[in-house]
């Protein structure tokens, strides 16, 4: 059901603005409208005073610091929101400032460790490639080594290096080279420690890429560096974990911080709302949308908490104003609101299709996936999904509930068609259908699908008629009447043509089609001569579209039969495996496809007859932050 909205004006003494905004934020029942942009109310906006500006600044600062700290650890569940007093904020600031440097240090250490974890394996790889070149001799004292990697196409650098090294170190040096991979030559330079400085300067001058080890491994002989690097790599995850734990240990005991952050957000919201409030010398004026059923509660809450200095009254809605949309349905129906929202919200003062979807969508699903076993599996799956993911994701919870209803219908239709894993029930224990066996009675099944389509479409058109009449939309009224008449006429014609109806109905049938066609042409103006007949054909096509109720189901029946027959063909254990695999595939398709098809039948065929979309969602002031804690006065 679409909740009717009231536009209200709250007027009060400026001293009471803070209390009023705090109350409204907590109640979450009013969507504030910017007074400056509201036609009919012309007031300058209220600007925050100096004290409020200071508070705003302080809160924004704390919010940023808190975000930085809380971002380091995962948000614990069920933190909610606390009431915060100015003294608490001062304490928080002090605590943040005290903890800040320590946390910063820890974060930096964590960053370093993580960088090291990424970089070390690359060093290790270079070292491993060079290792076969390193002579054991270098581990003796008095000598130093430098490792170089040279691109093969620049191999001539080595000649230059040799010449220059002779100049620097005389005979007391050695260059060992080898191809380490297709594009790279590895070179190890061994030289006396006395000439180290000159060699380093030389290596800096000529263009070779030197394998430089991280600080902690510098100066170590190669083999030792390699070994200690390997040890380091295996130790790093532990150290990172430890650093994480230290941060978590520091932050987690301050669970209250999450609640405080929500409280800060709430207060920032309130301060932000001040801009949307109009002002005179002594009074403030706030305007907003309130769901009509919630008006009395809001009224009494204002009276009790803020007092007589503030009053609320309902004001007239401007003609071009569109109130926000709030859907409110009984709890079994509520999951279907998600599916309506998935398309787009209905316009204000139009029909909320949620309850109709609650009736028809699971029914259509059941008609398509009518199988007792598949239905039970789908039921178990949807219950599991609801329990496993429902708490975290509202969309998953809604979807799983929709699937629960759908799979119950699936079991019921399974009994009606006599299907138990396809024809297995019939083969094993002679199960009989209550109505028809889909596999054999294709014609009745198709007629049934068409009948369901005709009923659904007629219902939609009747709703559309009612809505058009209520909203006094003349052309929509004529168009829907035309479609309905044409549809009825075509069905009568089909009945007469197939000898199901008396020939006497032929004249009324033709008359209805012609009348409908004229109606459809009339509303389109001159173009109607072309568009009218097209509209009529598409309406008829929409009914034919319900044949998918039969077609999707038949595909599933045949696939189940294939599974059973393949299963029976070979040895029993191979058969069971093959049959289970095909049935599992069929079930997966059988859950996905009917859901999409049932949705489509609603979105395209059914909604096309009456649905007016384009509503904006109702977003009450305060809904962006967690609910405030319950106090005795609330």
């Amino acid at each position: 059901m679409l909740v009717p909205m009231a536009k209200v004006e709250i007027i009060g003494h400026r001293d009471r603005l803070d209390v009023t905004l705090h109350l409204l934020h907590g109640l979450r029942t009013i969507q504030l409208i910017d007074v400056t942009s509201t036609p009919g109310v012309r007031l300058p906006p209220l600007t925050a005073d100096e004290k409020q500006l200071r508070e705003l600044e302080e809160l924004r600062y704390l919010r940023t610091r808190l975000d930085a700290v809380l971002g380091m650890v995962p948000t614990p569940e069920g933190v909610g929101r606390s009431e915060v007093q100015p003294a608490d904020l001062q304490a928080l600031r002090a605590e943040l400032e005290e903890l800040g440097p320590e946390l910063e240090l820890l974060t930096r250490r964590l960053d370093d460790l993580q960088t090291e974890q990424q970089a070390l394996p690359r060093y290790l790889e270079s070292l491993r490639r060079l290792l076969p070149l390193v002579p054991e001799l270098t581990q003796l004292g008095g000598y130093e080594t430098a490792a170089l990697l040279i691109e093969s196409r620049h191999a001539d650098v080595l000649g230059d290096l040799n010449t220059e090294m002779t100049e620097v170190a005389g005979d007391l040096y050695e260059i060992i080279t080898a191809q380490v991979d297709r594009d790279t030559i590895g070179a190890i330079l061994v030289f006396r420690r006395e000439v180290a400085r000159k060699v380093h300067a030389l290596l800096g001058r000529i263009q070779v890429s030197r394998v430089r080890l991280p600080e902690r491994f510098e100066g170590m002989p190669f083999r030792q560096a390699l070994a200690s690097m390997e040890r380091r790599i295996s130790a790093l995850p532990g150290e990172i974990e430890k650093a994480h734990r230290t941060i978590t240990d520091l932050v987690e005991p301050r669970r209250v911080w999450w609640a405080t952050r929500s409280a800060i957000d709430a207060r920032l919201d309130e301060l932000d709302a001040i801009r949307r409030v109009g002002t005179t010398h002594h009074a403030f004026v706030a305007v907003g949308w309130v769901p009509e059923p919630d008006l009395p509660d809001l009224h009494s809450a204002l009276e009790a908490e803020v007092g007589p200095q503030v009053m609320m009254e309902q004001i007239a809605t401007e003609p071009d104003e569109e109130p926000p949309i709030l859907l409110r349905n009984p709890s079994p129906v509520r999951p279907f609101e998600f599916l309506v929202r998935l398309l787009s919200l209905p316009g204000y003062n139009t029909i909320d299709p949620t309850r109709l979807m609650f009736v028809f969508l699971p029914l259509f699903f059941g008609i398509m996936l009518g199988d007792i076993v598949y239905g039970l599996f789908a039921l178990a799956l949807s219950l599991w999904v609801g329990r496993r993911f429902g708490a975290r994701s509202p969309a998953m919870r809604d979807l799983s509930r929709v699937l629960v209803y759908s799979s119950i219908w699936s079991v019921i239709w399974g009994a009606i068609y006599g299907e138990f894993l396809g024809n297995l029930g019939h083969e094993l224990f002679g199960m009989k259908p209550i109505w028809i066996n889909r596999e054999e009675a294709i014609q009745p099944l198709l007629l049934f699908a068409l009948a369901v389509g005709a009923i659904h479409m007629t219902l939609g058109l009747l709703l559309g008629l009612w809505e058009a009449a209520r909203l006094k939309q003349r052309s929509a009224l004529i168009e829907r009447m035309g479609r309905l008449a044409a549809l009825m006429g075509l069905f009568l014609l089909a009945g007469v043509a197939s000898n199901q109806l008396p020939v006497g109905l032929m004249t009324p049938a033709v008359a209805a089609v012609v009348l409908g066609l004229v109606g459809l042409m009339y509303v389109q103006g001159w173009l109607g001569i072309l568009i009218g007949p097209l509209e009529m054909i598409s309406t008829f096509g929409n009914v034919l579209s319900y044949l998918r109720l039969a077609a999707i189901g038949l595909a599933s029946v045949y696939l189940a039969r294939v599974a059973n027959e393949l299963g029976a063909a070979g040895p029993i254990w191979v058969g069971v495996i093959i049959a289970s695999l095909i049935h599992a595939l069929n079930l997966a398709l059988g859950i996905f496809s009917p859901t999409i098809q049932a949705l489509r039948l609603h979105y395209v065929e059914f909604f096309g007859t009456f649905y007016e979309s384009g509503g904006r969602a109702f977003r009450p002031f305060g809904s962006a932050t967690p609910a405030p804690p319950r106090t005795s006065s609330a």
């Binding site: 014609q443 044949l547 949705l599 489509r600 979105y603 395209v604």
Partner: protein
Amino acid sequence: MELGLIAIGAGLAVGLGALATGIAQARIGSAGIGAITEKPELLGRVILLIALPETLVILGFAVAAMVMILLPG
């Protein structure tokens, strides 16, 4: 022989419809995914658009069913 031709006709009715649906859905699908990436709230409308061409194969199925049921008799 005649029954064979009827079966081929029915098969063509569904098959060609399915092919056309597939071609249309391929284009709508890729465009739709692009749209969802930019604006996730369009999901519902994109599902609707992707499901639209399925009418083709359903109409093909309707023709096939009519051919199979009405012609042999």
